[in-house]
């Protein structure tokens, strides 16, 4: 009798535990199925961006998060991912380098900036400004550089410029260190 009463009292807790257990197993299963696909697509997307940035690329190697771009056997550039702190969250930027001092170009991989304002950092009008820029000149014009900000989205634009410059310097030290 007492056992039955106790079970009755515990039933809501047991049921909740069972529901959570079912949900967790379901999520693990779905996560396991989708993860390889998500990762493969992300890689493919970055590869597509790399070959847009370096049309001559025939292959690349990835070491310590730095892509080295080859045309046949010659290294023609480097690329890496920089993360800027934007207005609405992280901005992931693929940065290509022509050599150890010059930017080849940038592509925004993902961002969560305000649609219509900050989101303009992903458009060519903004990103094209980085092409062939000297790394030391990568900063907003008002910060003494050569990049024009986006109207109404100075924070987003500065996040990109500053992330590109500081990450480029770090990676160049790494490349030279090799």
């Amino acid at each position: 009798m007492q056992v039955r009463d106790a079970l009755k009292k515990a039933f809501p807790v047991i049921l909740l535990t069972v529901v959570v257990a079912i949900c967790v197993s379901l999520l693990t299963a779905v996560g396991g199925i989708t993860l390889p696909r998500i990762e493969a697509m992300e890689r493919e997307r970055i590869l597509g961006m790399l070959s847009d940035m370096f049309p001559d690329m025939t292959r690349y190697s990835l070491e310590e998060e730095i892509y080295t771009i080859y045309k046949d056997e010659d290294a023609i550039g480097y690329a890496f991912i920089a993360v800027g702190r934007g207005y609405g969250g992280d901005v992931n930027i693929l940065v290509g380098l022509e050599d150890e001092a010059t930017v080849k170009g940038i592509t925004i991989i993902s961002h969560t900036e305000t649609p219509g304002l900050g989101s303009k950092i992903a458009e060519d009008l903004f990103t094209d400004q980085f092409a062939s820029a000297d790394i030391d000149d990568v900063a907003l014009t008002r910060d003494g550089g050569r990049i024009d900000a986006v109207t109404g989205a100075t924070v987003s634009a500065r996040a990109v410029a500053d992330a590109v410059r500081s990450t480029a310097r770090e990676k160049i030290d790494l490349i030279r260190g090799d």
Binding site: F11, P12, V13, L15, L16, V19, V20, C23, L26, L27, V30, G31, I33, T34, R37, I38, M41, R45, G88, G89, S110, T112, T114, P115, G116, L117, G152
Partner: protein
């Protein structure tokens, strides 16, 4: 069957989730910056709401009332995460557009609201009809809000990359405020006022 039909139709206007129940305003205001986003959000909400209503109507018989809310939340959160993962894997473009708002479907009170107010008290078929009606109502509201915001905020009307028309002056000098959060509140408020004034909504 006419019973289910009634449950479907009520979601469209008379108990429209956004315009009348004022539920799900967070995603409704957050993503209604373009028609594409509105339709993408409707699709995500549809899957989660339908799934939640079906599961909750099925288990309603033995869920004790004291733990019903945590159980509903766990079920809804699981469905949202599954949708998020599946969109990421199979609809990556839409996933990128919806961004942060897709996981935020979980805090859409419309879904918990329907689970609590309807699916936990009604049989399966009627709960499905309710979910369908609420989804269509949600879509009507989101498309109306995002139409106004996209038009005033960008001066261009395009759906899924196809440009429909461009306004002459506005596209040069768009009213960016309408894309920003205050614009969402303004448009929703003005639409509500307009619809009540014209007698479409009777509250």
């Amino acid at each position: 069957m006419s019973d289910s039909r009634k449950e479907f139709v009520k979601g469209l206007i008379t108990t429209n989730p956004v315009f009348v129940l004022l539920l799900g305003l967070c995603p409704a205001l957050a993503v209604s910056t373009s028609i594409d986003n509105a339709l993408g959000m409707t699709l995500a909400t549809f899957i989660v709401l339908l799934g939640a209503n079906i599961i909750i109507a099925a288990i309603r018989g033995f869920v004790p009332s004291i733990t019903r809310i945590p159980i509903f939340i766990v079920i809804i959160a699981t469905l949202v995460t599954v949708v998020n993962l599946l969109f990421n894997a199979f609809l990556p473009d839409l996933h990128r557009t919806l961004g942060i708002y897709l996981p935020l479907v979980v805090v859409n009170c419309m879904i918990l609201g329907r689970a609590e107010a309807f699916a936990s008290k009604n049989p399966m078929i009627r709960s499905i009809a309710d979910a369908l009606g609420m989804t269509v109502g949600f879509m009507i509201a989101l498309v109306m809000i995002s139409f106004v915001r996209q038009l005033l905020g960008t001066g261009e009307m395009s759906v899924f990359g196809f440009s429909i028309f461009t306004l002459p002056v506005l596209s040069e000098h768009p009213l960016a405020m309408f894309i920003l959060p205050p614009g969402g509140f303004l448009v929703l408020g003005l639409l509500l006022a307009l619809l009540r004034w014209r007698g479409v909504l009777k509250i």
